[in-house]
Amino acid sequence: MKKFTLIIAVVLVSLVSLAQKPEYLQTMGETLGQFANCQSVADFQDLGNKFEMIANAETSEWLPMYYHAQCYILMSFIEQGDAAIKDSYLDVAEKSVNKLMEMVPGEPEVFVLQAFYLTGRLVVNPMERGQEYGGLVGQATDKALAIDISNPRAKLMKLQMDMGSAPYMGLDPKSFCPAAKELLASWDNFKPKSPLHPNWGKDQAEGIVKGCQ
């Protein structure tokens, strides 16, 4: 019954907003659909371009800017070149993350994105940035979890950081495997606010669990 009401509510809400912004919802839906096809830096660059365009057209929506930043963070992970190039992608992501912090203060997904962005900075040079950025990632995920204890992406960010830094902390990365399995098992309990809201990360969680075996 409850679920049914929820569906009705969601449909109603989407209908209302659809009536207002059909183009927004449709373009966002399509563009999000392209995430699955992106592999190269250039692919994500094109996708990021689209989100930038949407963000520019819909200045009151935070989701386009969110995905814009995410594209650039992902680019920094895929890029094979110099640290300077990776950092230039992250410079772009940083601007969007900072704007989002002002636009929707207290949105847990934005803190997750911030943690993701900081992880990107760390990965560019773990030896030199590990200590500083590791702490910053922890602070960002803590903020996300303080607002929404059930957010699986915040837990994922935390888990990845813990496992990544485990060898430097004198711990076995596999000691986090039970937590990873638990996270994956409960992943679908989290329901995003709308089909456009962040809903990524399950693949990564699956990857971690696979690596545990």
């Binding site: 449709q26 371009n49 772009v92 030199e128 200590q131 060898p167 430097y168 004198g170």
Partner: protein
């Protein structure tokens, strides 16, 4: 429902497709190369596209009327163009201009080793400073594995590009440190006073530095202390030579750290063989307090204060009394305070205010002689920075430095009391101008007035850098540098002028893929060096500024963090050719502290499987000269070359416990720093000599670092990784 909507949209699209404007063209860099992936869209609409691999794009829009085309790409200045959309085809070929970004723009590298993670032109990070084997936790020790420095094992101080150790100055958070080194006995190496873990960033300039810094002929070392700590914590350090306890308490906008350190080399020296007798082994107690407070949106106030007491007695042979051992006893009291406040003033203006105070007293007894030496230094500085634009920044400021130095010598029948006080007033201004992201010029000047000497000096400074490619750049620096004569001379006379060195530095640096290569050629022209004629050092008339000298050389640096997985190494080599005529030199000669070839090879490797970070450092310094009064030629004898292979090992026992061990000179090379001689000849007319040895051939240290936090996951890895 969904289907219905979908059909509706299709219908809508079909309708609008009837009247379309096509915008087509190509996006290129300024040199004509295509820019793929550029973002092209009509502002405020959903009509956009990306350029393809040829830089070409085609954008269709059903909109009509006025519109604005936006074209953008990372690190390029965005392009906007208003257009009239009237269902025709608009052709647009756009050259995007590279955006100016100070962080990725060219930086002045001549003479400078900057240790900061943010800058691209980085060669040595703060972490490296701490983790270099053989440095034994000494800031100055770590710097001696960089090019441009010469190792002087009997001194431990910094000798840069043919300059004497007094020619280098140390600044902490913008303030001059009057007494940066611990007190030691003649021919026994000293260490820096400050714990390297206090600092987050280091700039080591071996020449051609900014007009902000004066009173240094050879180099400045700029140390920046840590900002706000992350959380409350307690650090316990147990070393084979002492213990340290540090506690940090954090609040919303501030934090306080208290540190207590006690070192005693006694137990260690009784186990490891020593070259000298120590009736009282070196012992020191330090208490320090550090406060951090954020002020407003952008400001940060830092305060550091330390109280230090140390002492020792070492037995040395009195060569003037047929080698009878005499005890050299030293006790030192040092109080140091340092404060800084950095803040923005309004939208653009920024201000850095800094000040330091030092009170340092040495009490020395040897034989029938007692010496009390006291330095009091007060330093105040205020710098204003105004960016007229991204490309043009103006910096100016003023400085006041007061130094009081006194020396009281009591011998069996005589007492000598000498002292002087000098106030130095300085002002400087400097402009940094970027002609483009490839070319930067820094031009400035500095005026100093020394009250005691009653002299004005003016020092012009100029440096530029030009980026040849994205990875490589040339940099040139030129300037005049003045410094007051050494304190020991100023005790007896103020009828001399500041000494001068002109620097000419030409450097090339290329960095790509975690590899850096650097080559630097320099020439230093020393003028007005103070000379002392005759034995009567107490006669003011015996001093003049007739000395001069030169230093020229080549510094090479290669660092590679890529080739060996989990490995990181650097090689540093310096060639130095220098001569000078100063102090009591009878003629122009190579000074004792200069060595022609200096080599340092540093290697570090992370071994994940055993959670260890071992490191090695090999250093070689070609034979230096020393003076033998029995020889007719001045500074004509050669010492042994200096050779040392140093190893260190860090092991992560638990996540908050680190074990650390290090040993210097594992291969037990024989190192000797020439000879010292009696002041007076014996009955046969011979001066009695004795080899100067290091206080021990090898040095071992074992340590355990424990960090306690509420969360329990921090460690002091940063310290010794």
């Amino acid at each position: 429902m969904k289907q219905f909507l979908f059909t509706g949209i299709i219908l809508l699209l079909a309708l609008t497709a009837m009247s379309q404007t096509v915008i087509t063209g190509k996006v290129t860099r300024e040199n004509g190369e295509p820019l793929p992936g550029a973002n092209i869209y009509l502002q405020g609409t959903y009509d956009g596209t990306s350029s393809n691999h040829k830089g070409e794009f085609k954008l269709k829009t059903a909109k009509t009327g006025p519109g604005i085309i936006q074209i953008g790409f990372i690190s390029y200045e965005p392009y906007t163009k208003p257009v009239e959309l009237k269902s025709d085809t608009i052709r647009l070929n756009v050259k995007l201009k590279e955006a100016f970004n100070q962080l990725s723009a060219v930086t002045i590298t001549a003479g400078t080793f900057e240790a900061s993670d943010k800058k691209q032109a980085v060669t040595i990070t703060p972490l490296d400073m701490m983790t270099t084997a053989g440095a034994a936790g000494d800031v100055y020790g770590a710097l001696q594995s960089l090019p441009g420095t010469t190792i002087n094992g009997e001194s431990g101080r910094l000798f840069v590009k043919g300059g004497d150790s007094q020619e280098s100055q140390t600044y902490i958070d913008g303030s001059l440190v009057s007494v940066p080194y611990s007190s030691s006995a003649p021919n026994i190496a000293t260490r820096g006073r400050f714990n390297p873990f206090m600092f987050k960033g280091t700039i080591f300039s071996t020449g051609g530095y900014s007009a902000e810094y004066g009173q240094a002929l050879s180099s400045v070392l700029l140390l920046n202390t840590n900002d706000m700590p992350a959380e409350d914590q307690l650090d316990l350090s147990f070393l084979s030579v002492g213990v340290e306890f540090a506690g940090t308490k954090k609040w919303n906008n501030g934090a306080i750290t208290g540190t207590l350190t006690y070192n005693n080399l006694g137990p260690y020296m009784s186990l490891a063989p020593q070259n000298y007798d120590w009736p009282h082994t070196p012992e020191s107690t330090t208490g320090a307090l550090s406060v951090r407070q954020k002020t407003g949106e952008t400001g940060l106030f830092k305060f550091y204060s330390s109280f230090n007491k140390d002492g020792f007695t070492v037995r040395q042979d009195d060569l003037d009394r047929s080698g009878i051992p005499v005890d050299y006893k030293l006790s030192n009291d040092n109080q140091f305070m340092n404060a800084s406040w950095n803040s923005k003033l309004g939208e653009k203006w920024a201000m850095n205010a800094a000040g330091s105070f030092t009170n340092n007293q040495d009490d020395i007894h040897f034989g029938q002689t007692s010496v009390v030496r006291r330095i009091q230094g007060l330093y105040l500085k205020n710098v204003f920075i105004y960016p007229f634009s991204d490309k043009f920044t103006l910096k100016f400021g003023g400085e006041f430095f007061s130094k009081a130095y006194s020396q009281n010598v009591q011998m069996t029948s005589e007492i000598h009391d000498n002292s002087f006080t000098n106030h130095t007033f300085s002002g400087f201004t400097e402009a940094q101008v970027y002609a483009s992201s490839k070319f930067v010029t820094r031009i400035g000047g500095r005026v100093e007035y020394s009250e005691y000497l009653d002299r004005f000096t003016f020092s012009p400074r100029l440096s530029t850098a030009y980026k040849v490619t994205g990875k490589s750049q040339f940099s040139v620096a030129y300037g005049w540098f003045y410094q007051n004569p050494v304190d020991d001379y100023l005790l007896y006379t103020n009828q001399i002028k500041p000494e001068r060195a002109d620097h000419y530095t030409f450097s090339f640096q290329s960095s790509a893929n975690s590899r850096t290569i650097r080559a630097e050629l320099y020439f230093k022209d020393y003028k007005d060096l103070v000379k002392l004629n005759g034995e009567e050092f107490y006669l003011p008339t015996n001093y003049n500024n007739d000395g001069s000298g030169y230093a020229k050389g080549l510094d090479l640096f290669w660092r590679d963090k890529k080739t060996i997985k989990n490995g990181d190494y650097w090689i540093s080599y310096s060639y130095l050719d220098t001569k000078r005529d100063y102090r009591n030199f009878p003629e122009e000669a190579v000074p004792t502290f200069a060595s022609k070839h200096n080599l340092s090879v540093v290697y570090k490797h992370w071994i994940g499987s055993i959670r260890s970070y071992p490191g090695a450092n090999f250093r070689y310094s070609s034979p230096r000269v020393y003076n033998d009064p029995n020889s007719p030629v001045f500074n004509s004898r050669k010492m042994l070359p200096y050779k040392s292979l140093d190893l260190s090992w860090s092991f992560l026992y638990r996540q908050n416990i680190i074990l650390y061990g290090a040993v210097t000179n594992v291969l037990d090379f024989k190192n000797e720093f020439g000879q010292r001689y009696s002041d007076n000849p014996d009955s046969n007319g011979n001066y009695r000599g004795k080899a100067i040895q290091p206080s021990s051939n090898q040095f071992y240290v074992l340590a355990c670092f424990i960090t306690l936090t509420r969360k329990g996951n921090a460690n002091q890895l940063e310290k010794i990784e």
